[in-house]
């Protein structure tokens, strides 16, 4: 493979000590397979961090170590200042886990599911009743709280799955591919719920192989493949790390060569390629540059029939970093 590792680089670093989760050099092997290889990242309060990678990249193994389900072979996980150890009870109370597989009891109602897991989270009876109502309201299941969950749609089950993870108001919420197999409407509802969490100050670790979800939800994204973080940062930062530039394609008729000359003189234009009826421009920020580009080309005598902007996305970033498509 042609992957290249880019050192962890973050934008907008929170102050030291403000991190809810600090993962340092995690390693986990299964026999000869190294599922997670020297993974490090940190998440601050109110921040949503995405682990973006294809199936089998090591996302679930990583969060299993973060949640204390399995022990790392090397490295450490610190949650809210406490080192995670599967044998330590108290530190787990800071975490809300939403597993990839539905983790609800089909023969119980939503309220019964919430009550059972709430008791296991050691929430007092009165506080639990209040919190259950709040969570049901948050996930939009208040009017179906008394129905058996086996009668729910896939999206409703997913929302309840998330609600159980939120019940005890954890410092860190871990969502492992929460929208897998969900219809578009429910998916949107789930994403809106997650967006609201970061507003409330909760740190969110979100794994997905859907590029759009990572772009929409995550303040920072770690691109993971074959057990390693290949690159990390905001969406824009990742695009820049890979040398990503925007393209503006102008189609039309007239004096194409004169327009090319005029456009090359603009400071925001990096490169201009021209043929008989089309101009292909390489720019750093196409949305900002496009108006001036159109004006310049028109004034140079080109009658434009079409303008198209192409910006690099996380898909292209992943392709650039690993040499393969995100959904391979």
């Amino acid at each position: 493979m042609s992957a290249k590792t880019i050192s962890n680089t973050r934008l907008d670093h929170p102050a030291a000590g403000a991190y809810v989760l600090e993962v340092q050099s995690l390693v986990r092997r299964f026999g000869d397979l190294t599922a997670v290889d020297d993974v490090s990242f940190r998440i601050a309060a109110g921040e949503t961090y995405g682990l973006l990678g294809p199936n089998g990249a090591g996302k679930t193994t990583t969060i299993s170590m973060v949640a204390g389900l399995i022990s790392p072979d090397a490295g450490s996980v610190v949650v809210a200042g406490q080192t995670m150890d599967p044998k330590k009870v108290e530190v787990k109370g800071n975490i809300g886990l939403v597993p990839q597989d539905l983790a609800i009891y089909p023969d119980l109602t939503a309220r019964e599911n919430l009550r059972y897991f709430g008791r296991l989270q050691r929430i007092g009876r009165d506080a639990l009743d209040r919190r259950i109502d709040e969570v049901l309201d948050l996930i939009g299941l208040s009017d179906r709280a008394g129905d058996l969950t086996k009668e729910y749609s896939g999206g409703m089950k997913r929302r309840l799955n998330i609600g159980i993870g939120l019940l005890h108001q954890p410092s860190l919420l871990i969502l492992d591919e929460p929208t897998v197999g969900v219809d578009p409407q429910s998916r949107n509802a789930i994403l809106e719920s997650v967006e609201a969490l970061s507003v409330e100050g909760m740190a969110v670790l979100y794994t997905t192989h859907y590029m759009e979800e990572a772009e929409r939800l995550c303040d920072r994204i770690g691109i993971i493949d074959e057990g390693r973080i290949q690159a990390e940062g905001s969406r824009d930062h990742l695009v820049r790390l890979t040398g990503g530039v925007d393209h503006i394609r102008l189609s039309g008729s007239g004096d194409i060569e004169a327009a090319a000359q005029a456009l090359r003189a603009l400071p925001e234009i990096e490169q201009v390629d021209a043929d008989r009826r089309m101009l292909m421009l390489t720019v750093h920020d196409a949305p900002t540059a496009v108006a001036r580009v159109v004006t310049t080309a028109t004034e140079a005598g080109v009658s434009l029939s079409d303008v198209e902007i192409t910006r690099p996305d996380l898909e292209s970033v992943f392709l650039h970093l690993t040499g393969k498509a995100l959904r391979d």
Binding site: G68, L69, K87, L97, P99, A103, Y116, R119, L120, Q121
Partner: protein, 389 residues
């Protein structure tokens, strides 16, 4: 601790809600007890002996030989009809099925016995004879032995110069069963249950292995439906979940076993004896059975696999332990059967049923506790296949 009981309470409610404990822990074993009781009803431990006919050829002028058939007609336990006939007709009479037993006593029986030589009494048993014929043969054999003893004693006394009165006393004494040994009917801890008792205890022990399996099945179901990951992420020890499931199986086992023994004893008229001793037996047997589920939980990858394993183990241990009928065995096979917790449970109930108390249960309790310890140790060393799936 609170979380442990939360899980146990949840699981118990689930088992009641899906009615599995009521069906497989109570209804099915009770139904099986009823069916087997009907099938094995013929093996009642106190059978009635039917009237029997005996064909006999006994020399009438012999001073001792007629005593042999006189004893038969005087039996209290069954009616015996003696048909006198010539010696050469006895065989045919029995062969035709007209008599269950044929007896032929040679001429000079008394003379032969008095001289210390072997007297000849021929007994023929009919082809279709049953328990009644065996009783007749045993009585004849005993009578001949006593007559021989009396005559030999008298002859010996005569040789010593005893008076006729003294010789008569010696002869009567030798020919009369001793009254120095009194046979008193009572109860003793003989480890043998009645047929119905074995049925109730055996089926209870067999289904105990299924009932405690609900715990391990629940554990594997948590893994299959994805809730195990969430449970393990809760602020409690990882072992809490396993302990809770085992405790659930244990409590269900104690409940179902107690219920089955109580109801079974009432329905089939079986008295298992000392309540405290039986309670200790139940708790120990359930503990032994529960320990076995720890191994199943480690070996089985899915609830379905666990179900199959549990069924195989239950049937093998149940049958070998005598859940359906006692398995006669000697040597190594007997030793293997003896360390079976179901066999120990039935044996223990046999002891309490026969009047034994807690002090008499050392062996079966030791076997069951030993079995539990070995199973727990084995479960610690074998890899957890389900966790690596």
């Amino acid at each position: 601790m609170r979380q442990l009981w939360t899980i146990v309470g949840f699981d118990l409610r689930q088992r009641l809600r899906d009615k599995s404990i009521l069906i497989f822990g109570i209804a099915v074993p009770l139904a099986l007890m009823g069916v087997l009781n009907l099938l094995l009803g013929g093996f009642d431990e106190s059978p009635e002996l039917e009237p029997v006919t005996v064909a006999a050829s006994v020399p009438a002028d012999d001073p001792l030989a007629p005593t042999i058939v006189d004893v038969l007609t005087g039996l209290d336990v069954m009616d015996v009809t003696v048909k006198d006939m010539p010696a050469d007709e006895v065989d045919d009479y029995v062969a035709d099925g007209d008599a269950a037993v044929g007896i032929t006593v040679d001429d000079g029986f008394a003379q032969t016995v008095s001289t210390g030589r072997q007297a000849r009494v021929e007994i023929i048993e009919g082809d279709s004879s049953g328990l009644e014929a065996d009783v007749v043969i045993s009585v004849v054999q005993g009578t001949v032995d006593q007559l021989t003893a009396g005559v030999v004693a008298t002859v010996a006394g005569s040789a010593e110069g005893l008076s006729p009165d003294e010789l008569a006393t010696v002869g009567r004494t030798a020919a009369t069963p001793s009254d120095h040994i009194a046979l008193i009917e009572g109860q003793a801890s003989n480890e043998q249950l009645s047929t119905k008792g074995t049925l109730v205890a055996g089926q209870t022990g067999l289904f105990l292995l299924f009932t405690v399996g609900f715990g391990v099945l629940a554990l594997l179901a948590e893994r299959e439906q994805g809730t195990m990951a969430r449970l393990q992420s809760m602020p409690m020890r990882r072992s809490t979940v396993v302990l809770a499931k085992s405790l659930t199986g244990f409590l269900l086992g104690v409940f179902a076993t107690s219920f089955l023994l109580t109801v079974g004893s009432l329905l089939f008229g079986v008295d298992f004896g000392d309540v405290l001793a039986v309670a200790v037996l139940i708790v120990t047997a359930v503990a032994a059975a529960t320990s076995l589920t720890f191994i199943v939980a480690r070996v089985a990858r899915t609830a379905e696999q666990a179900n199959v394993m549990q069924s195989i183990v239950a049937v093998v241990l149940g049958m070998a332990g005598g859940a359906f009928f006692p398995i006669p065995a000697t040597g190594l096979a007997a030793t293997i059967i003896d360390v079976n917790p179901i066999a120990a449970f039935i044996r223990g109930l046999g002891i309490t049923s026969g009047g034994g108390d807690l002090a008499d249960l050392g062996t079966p309790l030791s076997i069951m506790v030993g079995f539990a310890v070995v199973c727990l140790l084995v479960s610690r060393v074998i890899p957890d296949r389900a966790a690596t799936t």
